[in-house]
């Protein structure tokens, strides 16, 4: 068998929808990589008769989304679970091209949780909602016995109004489209990792949690329907977003490693821990695909949005190899950047 035949065989296996064949749930199913995709493509989407389990979906002129937050620890440099619960959900709406309008909130609380901690998080939710210009309009609370959840879990559901300028769809990606990121990658995951104190490592890294509607609004204003698709690069990082989109649209994404903005402290921590910042979670960084003729203007507009001054163009959509993400290394070589396997870091959001 030649190398080419072996590779063809692999691609055939890879391009099949993932199946859910596991006997039990392991932490890998929550990591945003291949096991998560298997759970979605193999169990959830077929059960509901939908092609994919998108983060947000349109219902008439509205978009709706839901998300749960189980981050540990509750508070970390740059944010807390309450702030994440608002920003995570409004960002799922924003990247679907919808201006966030309102949220509902469900709290699962552990018996024994200090009232002060709960109050702090409720206040964080109120502040974040105000900053993101959404209202919290309804909710629910449940309490479980001590040991049956870890302090508190938060679920938020959001609705937004789809912006008339938005024509966002993975299917609209075309060879030549430019790939933008809205800021330095990997900060949230590294901040959480350091905040857990499991490694004897200290660095000034803060989570990037922030609402992203103003960034999407700026992109839509500058590029209109030349803005092909936007994703929030949360769990699994920028690498996972690129892989999902390349897979869904049958194109290739080619990233220039040297063009990806990463804060020096994040680079250092990742280097020591042996992880790639491209796979590390963000909570306020989006990836946008823009038609080439509108790319420069879109990037300039993005850089003027709050928190996005370091936005950058990191790569391009190509035809070959379909469904794959390739990296041009700063050393002059080339490698595949595949979906993440395994669980580098559980309970990141």
């Amino acid at each position: 068998m030649s190398e080419a035949t072996a590779l063809e065989k692999i691609e055939r296996v890879r391009s099949k929808p993932l199946r859910f064949r596991d006997e039990q749930i392991t932490m890998a199913h929550g990591a945003g990589g291949k096991a998560t995709l298997g759970l979605i493509e193999g169990l959830l989407a077929p059960a509901f008769g939908i092609p994919e389990l998108a983060d947000a979906a349109a219902v008439g002129e509205l978009a709706v989304t839901t998300d749960s937050f189980v981050v540990k620890p509750l508070r970390f440099p740059g944010g807390s679970i309450g702030e994440l619960a608002v920003n995570g959900t409004v960002n799922d709406l924003a990247v679907a091209g919808a201006r966030p309008l309102a949220l509902t909130l469900a709290l699962v609380l552990e018996e024994g949780l200090a009232a002060g901690e709960l109050r702090a998080e409720v206040e964080a939710i109120a502040r974040a909602a105000e900053a993101a210009e959404v209202e919290v309009v309804a909710g629910d609370t449940k309490v479980v016995e001590r040991g049956h959840c870890d302090a508190m879990y938060v679920t938020t559901t959001g609705i937004g109004r789809i912006d008339p300028r938005a024509r966002l769809s993975p299917a609209s990606l075309r060879p030549g489209d430019r790939i933008l990121v809205s800021g330095p990658v990997g900060a949230h995951g590294v901040a959480i990792m350091l905040a857990r104190g499991e490694f004897e490592l200290d660095a000034p890294v803060e989570s990037d949690t922030r609402p992203l509607w103003s960034a999407v609004d700026a992109l839509l204003g500058a590029a209109g329907d030349a803005l092909r698709c936007v994703r929030d690069a949360t769990r699994g990082g920028v690498a996972s977003v690129l892989n999902e989109l390349a897979r869904a649209s049958g194109v290739a994404a080619v990233v220039r490693e040297a063009a990806v903005p990463v804060a020096p402290a994040v680079t250092g921590a990742c280097e020591i821990l042996g992880i790639d910042p491209m796979y590390v979670a963000n909570e306020g960084t989006l990836v946008a695909f823009v038609a080439p003729e509108a790319a420069d203007e879109a990037l300039a507009a993005l850089r003027s949005a709050p928190g996005c001054a370091e936005a950058a163009e990191i790569g391009e959509v190509k035809t070959e190899p379909p469904g794959m993400v390739l990296v041009e290394t700063s050393f002059g070589g080339r490698r595949v950047m595949d979906l993440l396997v395994g669980d580098p870091l559980p309970r990141i959001c």
Binding site: E23, T26, F199, R334
Partner: protein, 371 residues
Amino acid sequence: MKFVDEFRDAELGRVLANEILATVEPGRHYKVMEVCGGHTHTIYKYGVDDLLPANVELVHGPGCPVCVIPMGRVDDGIAVAHRAGVIFTCFGDMMRVPGGAGTLLDAKAEGADVRMVYSPLDALRIARENPEREVIFFAVGFETTAPSTALTLMRAKAERVPNFFVFCNHVTIVPPLRALLESPDLRLDGFIGPGHVSTVVGARPFEFIPADYGKPVVISGFEPLDLLQSVHMVLRQLADGRCEVENQYKRVVPYDGNPQALRVLAEVFELRPHFEWRGLGFISHSGLKLSAAYADFDAELRYEVPGVRVADPKACQCGEVLKGVIKPWECKVFGTACTPERPIGTCMVSSEGACAAYYNYGRFARERVVV
């Protein structure tokens, strides 16, 4: 990042690539083995081999600590992890290594308290924080990681931590290399020597390779420029008709190693008569166990383990991959039945494993020049 970026300079990489081109004898095919999994990882991560002419072939060797753990030892670890009251700790990659029936990750989902640590000291800390539980550290690795396990054990002994145990799977680098060189199906022109191991053992232990087998060795660092320069040094030796141990990684590796680390190893460990290697079988004097002075911390003495030798799955060709006899993609199950998310063989588990590195990074390399 200072002291790192300098060794990833693309411009210098091109200069070295040109020097390599000029050194290669036209029409000759070279096979150079990088022994260490860390090198394999760098080669694929940076696309280092994209800069080499096609007739310089890098063969991935047996130096990935996770890849050489046999299935029976994983089963023993899982059996200990399932004991009531136990906290079982290991490095992240180990959690996904398949044993005869499942992985440590599966054991965790079934209720065993399995925790990922980045250092054996983390395991010792967990033991101190949980005095009512017994904490076991699944120790793997070559002479690179063995000193940190040894120091942790010395600290545990000094602090009299009674609930900390080590399930020792440490191995040594020279015996498998000798076994490899004795293997009749092997045809290699030279070796890129393991840099991290050599920081401990030095370059001297590799002198037998040129002396007894007539092959050049260059101890190499782990950045892409280190590897390119080391390949060039091996090719240079071949072109000059020389054959010796050279040290490219002088900024870190002293020729005689780290005497303090070697003393610590000698105090805490002793050689086993033989140890099983995944795909390579039993190799004499290749594994370490805790010495008599540390017997109280030895998980193998503390717990009954099945201790059963589990045959490798028939379809799996990890042994041939580890010996460099076949390329990852030549294995019958590579990329189809055996993938990083559902590995059959250990080489597909760790990012330092030849198969995982090739699967994750190596496909779609650039076209290379033939000289």
